[in-house]
Symmetry: C2
Subunit: 294 residues, 2 copies
């Protein structure tokens, strides 16, 4: 994908997030600082970029998709903040920087996560409705994908799997990846499409694209955890293996994992056929994710 395109989009997303977030000095300042610290820590903005690209693929505008793009990024950031807590993954480093609880303390990190989650719905409520979709549809979409049966459910399985020597079965691992990663990626894409008033058939195609992309993304994440270096990745690597965590490479080996990532990526490409040239960016994002080494 064009690096300049990505950078322009990232800047737009950052500007939007800055606009929606309370200023760092707003009372209580510690909380708002912590929220901004985690939100502007150099994330790839994959979910918001996908949201905007999906809106365009369906003939909509970037402007209409800005609120859900920002909402999804706030939500994603809260999951990282809570995931890193000592009672969860206990990570000190995220994107090369101290994690939120290391910098601000555990109590503030819990509250900053809670506040980012709450803010994501406050932002989402400002999305313009279309003839097919109202704010109720948007909120349901995000709440279900990020709720107890999907995203948070995946975190629970992950948490329960840690510290045990028992590997998950392949189908359990797929469920874990679908919940932890694919659900929110797919919601980001669907929300973008909904702001463009996409038909149910189009939404369904994008759901297949999102799920395939999300699963590919997670398999690649597992592979990178084995093959990359701490420096490149900006977070502690080798951690999955150390805790006997179930990953694709642990269950299937590196070679098979790479093939699975490629298969899922091509499945994502196929799902975009109905969109023709309008889906160029979505195609490029899929290729970009498969090729990344950080």
């Amino acid at each position: 994908m064009d690096a300049a395109y990505l950078e322009t989009r990232c800047r737009l997303v950052d500007k939007t997030l800055d606009r929606f977030l309370p200023k760092a000095k707003t009372r209580p300042a510690t909380l708002h600082e912590a929220m901004r610290y985690s939100l502007f820590a150099g994330g790839k903005r994959l979910r918001p970029v996908l949201c905007l690209a999906a809106a365009e693929a369906c003939g909509g505008t970037v402007e209409a998709a800005l609120a859900p793009a920002a909402a999804v990024e706030c939500l994603h950031t809260y999951t990282l903040v809570h995931d890193d807590l000592p009672c969860m993954d206990d990570d000190d480093l995220r994107r090369g920087m101290p994690t939120c609880h290391v910098k601000y303390g555990e109590g503030i990190a819990v509250l900053a996560g809670d506040a980012l989650l709450t803010l994501s719905f406050e932002i989402l409520a400002q999305t313009p409705p279309t003839s097919r979709y109202g704010v109720g549809s948007y909120v349901s979409e995000l709440a279900v994908a990020s709720g107890s049966r999907h995203l948070i459910g995946g975190q629970v399985l992950d948490l329960e799997g840690e510290g045990t020597d028992v590997l998950l079965s392949p189908s359990q691992l797929r469920y874990l990846h679908e919940s932890k990663t694919a659900a929110l990626l797919t919601a980001a894409i669907r929300l973008g499409a909904m702001t463009a008033n996409a038909t149910p058939a189009r939404l369904e195609s994008l759901t297949v694209y999102g799920r395939s992309l999300g699963l590919a993304f997670q398999v690649i994440d597992d592979i990178l955890d084995v093959t990359s270096t701490t420096e490149k990745l900006g977070k502690s690597v080798g951690k999955d293996e150390a805790t006997a965590k179930s990953t694709y490479p642990a269950l299937f080996g590196l070679e098979k994992s790479r093939k699975e990532a490629a298969r899922l990526t091509s499945q994502a490409h196929n799902a975009l056929k109905p969109f023709g040239k309008k889906a160029a960016v979505l195609h490029e994002i899929a290729d970009y994710l498969l090729g990344r080494d950080y």
Copy 2:
């Protein structure tokens, strides 16, 4: 207030919550059990009861207000679960029972809180819109009241005040109580009124009622912490004093605190004048809260 009335309302709220919550056996079962454990732990259901009563005071139906009533109770419960965590208030006992993290572990307690917060917006999105208010208004109302500038902001002040010997000033304490308690009580009431398509003037009167009631509630909570017994209250008492926490009695003494609670309660009554007899239940709730001893 009529005890039978309250009990009937509580049963209706419980039934509604049971309907909106995933079954305890839904995967991942530990999470859904933990959510239900904290939600059905014998809470007074004050916020949902207020929500339903406000809808009726504005000529609306109980049915239309059930979703926001349930949403607000899920949100309130998540704040309790996260508040009790070791990195926050570190409480082992809540309503006479082990707190969520004592029973299920800290990781699950964080996630159960996150899931209840997320669910509250999923439920709220199902509230029927009126000619004046859509789902966007409902979601904004709850998100702002429970977000970083209000409810969570209050938790931060509370957290920062702990472990220090410095008492808050009276105006800081008022800000703390407004954020921690009054904001969500007021949102519960306003949401109920909105489902009844209340005029902006009516909403404003109910805002005064809610804020006064919420502040009175918090002052009384502080008083009970000093005067009640662990057995009656079902939670650890004397804890505020032990941690040199700023409370109304600590700042003003018991006598003045009781007078302030009465003053706020009468302010709440006055705000209900425009509603005439339709506000009977709201009047009774105010008297009930002032008279409670647990």
